[in-house]
Symmetry: C2
Subunit: 308 residues, 2 copies
Amino acid sequence: MTKVYDRVALIGLGLIASSMYWAIKRAGLAGEVTGFARSAETRDTARRIGLCDRVCDTVQDAVRDADLVVLCVPVGAMGSVARDIAPVLKSGATISDVGSVKRSVIDAVAPHLPACVHFIPAHPLAGTEHSGPESGFATLFDNRWCLLVPMPETDADAVQRLRDFWVGIGSNVDEMDPDHHDLVLAVTSHTPHLIAYTMVGVADDLGRVTDSEVIKYSAAGFRDFTRIAASDPTMWRDVFLTNKDATLEILGRFTEELFALQRAIRTGDGEMLHDYFTRTRSIRRGIIEAGQDTDAPDFGRAQLDNKE
Amino acid sequence: MTKVYDRVALIGLGLIASSMYWAIKRAGLAGEVTGFARSAETRDTARRIGLCDRVCDTVQDAVRDADLVVLCVPVGAMGSVARDIAPVLKSGATISDVGSVKRSVIDAVAPHLPACVHFIPAHPLAGTEHSGPESGFATLFDNRWCLLVPMPETDADAVQRLRDFWVGIGSNVDEMDPDHHDLVLAVTSHTPHLIAYTMVGVADDLGRVTDSEVIKYSAAGFRDFTRIAASDPTMWRDVFLTNKDATLEILGRFTEELFALQRAIRTGDGEMLHDYFTRTRSIRRGIIEAGQDTDAPDFGRAQLDNKE
C-alpha cells in the first residue's frame, strides 16, 4: 500500500479511532498518526498500548500540521471540537468524521471551519458492542461500507483521496447525500438499536421473570438483542437526539406493522403470519450473498466455543 | 457415555431432530435411533446423509418398540401426530417433544396418549436460522438449557432418565411448570422474534430506501435482526398462535416502553435515554458470564471471515 496522507489526526480514541489506527498501520496509509482524547485516562491507556504514533495532551497539538483530521467523538460533541481546532487547522487539510448521523454533524461542524480546508463527512458502517481505546482491531472495516457525504462544491481531488484512504483501511466506499444517509441509517441501524434497547429493558424490568432466567435462557433469540443493546450509551443517546425525524418516522412505520402482526396473532390469522415470515427470509439471503454476514449457523458461535 | 434408552424415535427430521441424532451418536446414548418425516423428500435426504439408523416410511413403524419418542414437529402438528402414534406406543415408553410452547402442546398431546406411557414435555433452548434435515450438528445443544415440563404425577424415574438423556446430549437441564415456561419464552424468544420479523418487514417494504441499500448497509445493526427473522416460518407461525396470551402480554409491555423512549426522543430527554441504555448493558454481561454467548466482538464474525 502507498501512503495517502503524510499526517493523520484521530480525535477521540474509542472503538472506531483505535480500529482505524491499526488498519492505517496495517496498510501504511499515513506517515504519522497523532491522537487525542479528552480523558487523561484514555490518553494514558493509548500510550500504554501503543495506540497512535503520538498521543497529544491538547486537541490543538494533535491536529496541527495534520493533512487529515478525523473526528471520532460522539455526534453531540462534534461542534465544540470543530470550534476548538478551527484556528490551528492546516490550509488544504481534509476534515472528516465518523458520526452515525450526517445532517446534524454538518450543521454543527461546517460553520466553524475556515474556507481553506475540505470538510468531507463520512460514516464507516462497522462496529461492535465494545467501546474504548482497547476495543479496536485492524479488521473491523474489512469489506464493510464507508459512506462519504461530500457537499456538491467539495474539491473532487480531496474526495478521491479520502476515498483511497478508506479503501486502504479495507472498506468499500459509496457516496450519499446527508438526508438520505440519515434515513437509510434510521432503517439499518438506529431503529433496530432502539428496539433492541427496549426489548432488553422490558426483560430486565419484568417482575414475573427474573433476570437470572432471562440470562440463562437467552440463547433462544434474546441474546442477539443484548449485543446490540450493550453498545455505548453516550454515542446512542446522541444518535437519537440528532437523527430525531428519520428515527421517529421509521418507528412510526415499525409500530404500524407491529400492530398488524399483533392483530393477526390475536385473531389467529396464521396465513398472514406465515406469509410475512416467509418474505423476510429473502432479505437475509441477500445479506449473505453481499458478503455482509457469515452463513455459519448462529453466527458461528459453535465454532468459536469449540476453539476455547 | 452409557446408553440411556435402547431405542429412540425422532418424529420430524428438521434442525432439532437432526442435531439430536448427531449428539446421540456422539455420546452413544441409544441402541438404535429411528426417524420419520412426513415428506418423502426429507426421508430421502435423511437416508442419503445417514441421518438416523433407520428411516421409516410410516410414523407408526418409527415409534413401534421405541423407549423414547421425541416429537420434533411444529407445535401445531403435535396433536395429530400424537393421535396417529398412540395405538402402537410401547407400554412404559417415554413420550417427549421439543416444542417452543408447552401449555398448548400438553393440551393437544396428552388427551391422545394411553395411561401406560410417560409424557414429559421438553424444550431445548437452542437453534439457528437454518432449517431442514441437513442443518443439524452435534454441538447445537452444548451448554444450552433444556427445560423439562413434567406434570406433578409423572414417574420420577422416567423424568430422571430423560434428564440423563439431555445431559448426555450436552445440555444443562432445568424443570419448570408449563405456564411459567410460556411466559419466560415469550420474553427470551417469542417477542424478540416477532420484533425482528417486523423490523425486517418494515425495511423490505420502505419505498424510499431500496432493498439493495438495506442489504449493503446491514452491518450497522440490522443484520442481527435478519438472522432471527430468517427462522422457519411454519414453526414461528405456530408459536405465536399457540402462545398467544403470553406473547400479547409481553408485546403490550414492549410497546409501552417503546412509546416512552419515543417520547424521550421527541422531547429531547437525553438523560432518560442515557440512563436506559446504561441499564441494558448489565444484562449482556450476565449472559457472557453465564456462558450463553461469546464475548468475541461482533459474535466473532471477524475471526470467521479471516478463516476463509
